[in-house]
Structure formats: structure tokens, C-alpha cells
Amino acid sequence: MRVGIFDELTFFSRVHPLVAAGYFVELFTLLLIFNHLLLTLALFAGLSGLCSWYFNRQKVLSTLKGVGSLMVLIWLFNVVLNQTGAHALWVGHLGSLTFRVTQTAVLYGLTMALSLGGMILAFVLFNGVITTPKLSYLLFPVVPRLAMLLTISLRMVNLFTQKFRRLVMLQKTRGVVVSEGSWRLRLQKTGRLLRILLIDSVSSAMETAVLMEARGFGSKKRSHYQTYRWQAMDGAFGLVSLVMFGLVIGLRTFGWGWTGDITQFTLINGSDGWLAVSVILFTSLPLMGEVGYRVCEN
């Protein structure tokens, strides 16, 4: 929702929304089509690099902290629950139960964790680049109502979050403390806070709706203010990313980067090196754009 998460003068924030959206579609596709450790690691590393470049240190650290804990959780679940893998690394017994930590579980868990972590980072980056006005610009010609609804919803979500934080603080003066008492009590008090939030928000939202109508909302077919000019750099970036994406997809159609039988998982497969270089190059494209953008500065 926040606009200008990173410097508005960067190449990536200046690229045409359509091209940027295309790049993200390609990026999300790549995150979904590989299950080899080296490739998911390359994608995760590339996205971490992009986030570190574009966002401030505090945001990167807090994102990586959140993503990291989720990744550890996924890896642990895989290690604990996947008992059918090959190459037991450790076997333990508890009564009649046998517990195995296998190489398959460790590697597959890592791959899944990196894949999900990469996906979250890609969404964070997407949120920074495709800001609400750009998203609205992309959706407006196709689904104008949805574009408007999306804009309003995003603002409302933001207002709700702020309001909820204030309520958590101020409702302490009414004896509602969500951090004191048993879990059951805490849950009850959170429910009470949500009820207050709802009553308060409905009352403000009704006033906002009236004021929207007072400014002509719904009286005519809406037009759209935001326009983005197509520039040479948009064409170049779009074309290069498409070629790179096509190349990676082509290699994937030969079966590279995917192992159907997870018991056959290994640390590195023979063909992974070339693919890893390709995906690293693909994720580095915005940074190359930045270099080009700066070189072209007056």
C-alpha cells in the first residue's frame, strides 16, 4: 500500500507497469517449476539481493527474519514428517516407534523452504514495485470496478491496521488487555477488540461512502488519471527478460531442474549449474537495468 517504498528514481520503479508485471509473472513461474536445491537457492539468493538493493536495511532485516523463521519451520516439518526418504542419516527408537532423518527429507525440506522463502520475497518486491496506482492502472482497462475496489480495500486495510494498533493501546484504559490472563481470556479480549474495531470502522466507512458520492462517485462512467509512457528501456527490458525466461523454460522442457521421484534427490545434479547461472542472470536483470539507467544519466 505504501507508495515509494524505494527510491522513485530507480530503473525498476520507472519501468512501465505492464513490463514490470510481465517480469513478475515470469519470476513467479520460475519459482514454481523447479525442485532442485541449487536452483531454488539461486532464486532465493537472487531475490534476497534484489530486496537488499531496493529496500532499506530495516525492512530487509525484518523481512528476512520473518521469512527465515517460516523456512526453518518448513524444513523441520519435512525432516520430522518425511520418513520414507532414502539414505538414512540418523535412526532413533522410541519404544516400538522408529524415527529416521533421511537425506531426502533434509534436501527436500530445504528446497521447499527456499522455494517458499523465494516466493515471499518475490511478493515483497512485487508490492514495492507494482504500487497501488500501477496495479490500478493495469486493472482499470480490464476490470475498472475491481481496480477501484482494490484501491479502496488496500486503504481500508491500512486504516484497519492502524486503528487496531491504537485500540490495543487505548482499550487498556477499559480493562481490555490482550497480553494478560489465560489464553482463553486473551482470545475473548481480542474478540472484543475486533468487535469495537468493526463498529468504529463501519461508522467511519459509512461517512466516507457518503463523501465519495458527494464527489460524484457513481454518477458517470469513471475515467482514469494515471498514464505511463512507453519508453525504449521498457521494450529492451521486456524483450531481454522474455528471451531469458524462454531460454530457462526451454531447458526445463528437457527435464532440467526437476526430479519426479524425490527419493532420488541429490545435492547437485549435472545440469543444474547452467540453469542456476541462467536464473541468477534472470533475477539480476533489474540490477543490470539500474546500471544501464545510471550509465545513460546526463
Binding site: 465519495m212 458527494a214 462517485f217 454518477s219
Partner: protein, 548 residues
Amino acid sequence: MRELIKSEHLTFTYAGQTTPTLTDISLQIHAGDFVTIVGATGSGKTTLLKQLKKELKPAGTQQGQVTYQGTPVADLTSDVSAQQLGYVAQDPQVQPIMATVIEELAFPLENLGYSAAAMNGRIAEVANFLGLNQLLHLPIEDLSGGQLQLVNLASVLALKPQVILLDEPTAQLDPTTAQNFLNILQQVHDELAITIVLTEHRLSRVLALANRMVLLEHGHLTYDGPVSAGLVRMQADAALRPFVPAVPAFFLDQQLPVSELPLTVTTGRRVIAQHGWQFTAVSAQPSRHSTPPSDFSLTAAGVSLRYPTTGDILHQVDLNVDPGSWLAIIGKNGSGKSTLLSVLAGLRKPQHGKVKLDQHVVWKMKNGDRLQRLSFLSQNPTEQFSGDTVTEELTAQARLAGDASAERVTDLLTTFQLTAVAEQNAFDLSGGQQQLLGMALALITQPEVLLLDEPTKGLDPATKLLVGRVLQRAHAAGLTIIMASHDMDFCAEFADACTFMFDGRLNQPQPTRQFFTENFLSTTAVNRLVRQQVPTALFSQDVTRKTI
């Protein structure tokens, strides 16, 4: 002048009510008018304003009619209504719907189907006129209240309206920001010849801009004419006297014969100089004595707080609160007053420093124990409501202090004039009533220390006086009060000591009279008017005219 809006024998009754809120209102508004609608809370000001634009009209029954350029307002098409009749609401937060300032300015133009090129032109023009160029790409949530209200005005102006209706547009702003907003409104009126109709409680600034005043009393129009004569009429009525701004009230109190009442300090000084009137101080009132409070200590030492997004808000704040004192903290929006109060109340934990009530760090105290000793009223009291009826809210709060007697609840309902709305939901009350309920909730636990954040925000002058008197009684019985306020007159009249908060730092508190006497800008209007003759004067009763 060309007649724009005409109301003929308008009577309006809200749905579910039997008594009309407006009765037989006949009024004409001409092109180029700057009309201020004045009246106490509940007199029908907002209801009248909302009758002038069809989208805002509340549910209810109407007799008589309101026309705009001869067409009944209800029959105007939506685009004509949006384009020609702009509206700015009291709370700057409720109008914006888009993410950034530029999108918000474009919103009404998009609604009316303007082309991108036409929108660009309109936005550029409005942004230049109102000086919004630097704000265009800022997110709405990063704007201050004053900037937001300016964006709301700009968004309406982008449609080039004939009339702008404003419902207490400065009620939520600090005095300097309010003055800036009104200066811009004057510019809009004078340079663009746009008709302005606004309702307002704080009349000291706005009346100087208006060419007409309309007075509403209990839904009846009792005065419509020049401002000066209207003020004389209000001063004669005990219920309306508190509404008369300090400068004209000074001339009326001192019975200074003038053909037209001065409305600003500058004109007031000029008139005094022209007539050669001399004033002398009256003997000082004996200071108020309060019941010795319970012995406690509330201290803040080295308190520093930083928000992740906005940076440092409190810098090494030290404060030693004397039991039984009434301290007013004065400062602009964003200076850190509200944050400091929330830290003192134990609701927020700073990164550095300690606030101790006796030997206990306030944010480490059990919530129940803290509530018994400290009460806090937020500047948005609705955020402290539970969504129940007024009586239920008060009973629940009294229960927290271990005294849920119906008698205490009834007492507070009577004190704050809430008996008539006792069974209404707290969220359905008017802004002023919500503020009074917030105050009642803060007092019902009978705390030792009361922390008030903008206690007079949105209150009309008469209700403000009521709040002041109630707090004065509680203070006399030993209650310690710390309040953050923009309201110089209220602070000067009621607080014992005052201090400035600026850039996250708190100055040393000074006795109230000394504080206001030494200030050049932040002082009462009467002090600014006569300080060359009587430097210690804060109110008109502090001086008397010298007879030669």
C-alpha cells in the same frame, strides 16, 4: 447579488424522532457570500448544512424546500451536485479514499469522466494555487491533519464549484494550522469568488472572514445579518455569551462604544488607540486552594521514544509532577504531547527512561492497579468506547474501580448532561457528547492523576466551560491533572502551570499567568490586545477602563 441557494420554511425531523431539528428556516445565500452558521451543539447547524447538498441529506421528513439556482436540491443531477456544490467534512480523515495526494485530487475528476489531459490541467492549477506541489506523491497516511484538510479542500476545488460547504473544518486542527487553513479559504473566496458556507464553534478567527452570520438556536433561525450586530445579540443572551470571541467580547464587557465591533487583535488595538482608551489592572483574584491530595510521586526521567517510521518523538523528557497540580502542555500537532501522555499513562513503553508512580514503573504495573490510580482520555474518545450504551459504558468502567453503584453513574450522567442519551449507543452520540462521555469514563474511577489529551477538542464554548468547571471541582478535591491542549484560553483559565512541548522536548513548567504574560505569540487574545497597557491581563475581567 445573484441568489444561489434558497431555503423556504424548511422544517426537518430525523427519522425516528418526533421533535424537528430544524424549524421553519428561511434563508437566502447569494453568490460571493461568506456565511458562518453559528449555534450551540445540537442547535441544528450541521443538519442545516447537510440540507444544502442532496447526497448528504440525512434520513428524515422535510417540509418546505431548498433550491439551488431555482432547482430543488433534491432534483439536481449527481454530476451537477458534485460539480457545483463542494463539501468538506469536520474530520479530515474520513474523506480521503485514495492512496496518494495526487490520486485523491484526481478522484472527483475521474468520477465525472474527465480526460487525462483535462485532469492534469485541473490538478496542476489547484496544486499550484494551494501550494500542494511538494505533497502530490506523498501517501495520504503521511499527511498531518492540516495538510489533509487542505487536500480535502483541493479535491473539492478541482471541480471548480460555485459553493463550498464546510462543517467545522478546523475543529480537529491546532490553532496555527487552523489559521493557515482559514487564510487559504479566504484566498479561495476572495480570488475565485467562490461562495462559502461554513459552520463553526471557534469563532475568533472565522468571523473576521465572514460577511454574514446566521444564528441557530434550538433549530430556529434567530439571527441572519452582519457579524457585528449578531455578536451584540449573542452577548446579550447568557447561553450564547461564551460563543462571542475574546476581542469583541472585550469591547462589549468594557462597554466601549464602537459603531462596529473589532474582530481581530489588530483592529481592536487600532480602535483603542484611536479613542485613547486607557486600562488598568484589577486587583488579582485570590489563588484557588485545593484539598491536599494523597501523597504520591509521578516522575518521568530521561524518557526517549522513537517510532520506526517517523523517527524520534520524545527526547530525554524529564518531568516531576506535583501532587494536586494542574499542568497544561502546549504545543503544535506532532510535537510529542500525545505520545508523552500515553507514556505517562503506562500505555506505551519508551525505548529509554522510566516513568514511576511512587516506586512502580507505570507500564510494568498490573493494568487493574494502574487504572485505580491513573486515568487517560484520548483525543479520539471513541477509541476508548466498548460499543455499548452510555449507561453500560459507565457502569463497566466503575466496576473496574470496584464501585459500580448506580448512584455514581447517575451523578456523572447529570454532571455531563448525558441523561437524555443514557440509553443510546456511545457511537451514535454527537462528537461533543462523545467527548463528554470520555471525560465521564476517565473520572468515574476516581483516579489520583488524570491525563487529558485535547479535552476541549470539538466542544462548543459553553460545553467547554462546563468541562472546565467539572474539572475545577475535581481538582479542588485533590485530583492531579496533566493535559495536552491547543486551547490557550482554556489553559489560561483553568491550569495552575503551563509548559511548551517542542520537538520532543518539554520546557520547565511555569505558573500560568507568568507563562502567558511572558509569551509573545502563544497567549490569550486579550493579552495580545492590551499587553502594552496591562502586561498581566489574560481576560477582559483582568482590566478596567481608566476614567479620566
